[in-house]
C-alpha cells in the first residue's frame, strides 16, 4: 500500500525567507507525485506535479520540488516566500493509470509573517 508523510504540520516563516516543506512517500511500485495548495476557504489547486522526466519540477509562482527516488522524497521549496503564500500544502501520490485517485499527506500549514 502507498502512504504519504508530511513531516511538518506547521511551518512559520518570515516574508522573503526560504522555505522547505517536506514530503516522503512509501510505495512498492512507481508513483506520480503532486503538491496541491489550499488557500483559506478554498478548494485545492494543483501547484506542481512529477510524472516522468526531469526530477526537478517548477510551478509558475516560484515553487519547485525535486523527486528523489532513492530517498522516496518530494520536498517542496521556495527561495523567497511572500505573504500571499500563506496556505495549507498537501503532498499526494497516485499510481499509474489511476487518474485522480490520490493518497494525501496530512498537510503542512505555511504561515508567512511580515
Amino acid at each position: 500500500a502507498q502512504s504519504v508523510t508530511q513531516l511538518d504540520s506547521q511551518v512559520p516563516v518570515f516574508e522573503e525567507a526560504p522555505v522547505e516543506l517536506r514530503c516522503n512517500y512509501s510505495s512498492s511500485v512507481s508513483v506520480y507525485l503532486f503538491w496541491y495548495v489550499q488557500y483559506p476557504n478554498q478548494g485545492l489547486q494543483l501547484l506542481l506535479k512529477y510524472l516522468s522526466g526531469s526530477t526537478l519540477v517548477e510551478s509558475i509562482n516560484g515553487f519547485e520540488a525535486e523527486f528523489n527516488k532513492s530517498q522516496t522524497s518530494f520536498h517542496l521549496r521556495k527561495p523567497s516566500v511572500h505573504i500571499s503564500d500563506t496556505a495549507e500544502y498537501f503532498c499526494a501520490v497516485t499510481l499509474y493509470n489511476q487518474g485522480g485517485k490520490l493518497i494525501f499527506g496530512q498537510g503542512t500549514e505555511l504561515s508567512v509573517k511580515p
Binding site: A92, Y96, L102
Partner: protein
Amino acid sequence: DVKVTQSSRYLVKRTGEKVFLECVQDMDHENMFWYRQDPGLGLRLIYFSYDVKMKEKGDIPEGYSVSREKKERFSLILESASTNQTSMYLCASSLTGTLNTEAFFGQGTRLTVV
C-alpha cells in the same frame, strides 16, 4: 477551464437526517471522487466512480453512499448523519488515461452535524 461545482459551501444538519451533497463537473471527466478533509488527517477518500453507475469504496466508506446516474454528477449521501461526520467534504474529477492527469477540486462543503 475545468469547473467542479459543489452545491453548497456550508450546511448545518441535525443528527439522524439524511444528507445529500451534490457535485457537478463540466469537462466530461470519467472519474469522480469524494474526499473528506479533517485537521491533521489530510484528505481521505470516501468513494470514487470511474463511470456512470459505477462506484468503488475508498478508505472510509462507512456511513456514506454515493450515486452517479449521469456522467457529470456525483452525489454523496449520508444516510443518517452523525456528529462525527462534521467535516469538510471535497469533490474532485479527472480524466482516465495512460498518462496520469491531475484531479480538479470543487470549493468544498463544510458540513456541521448538530
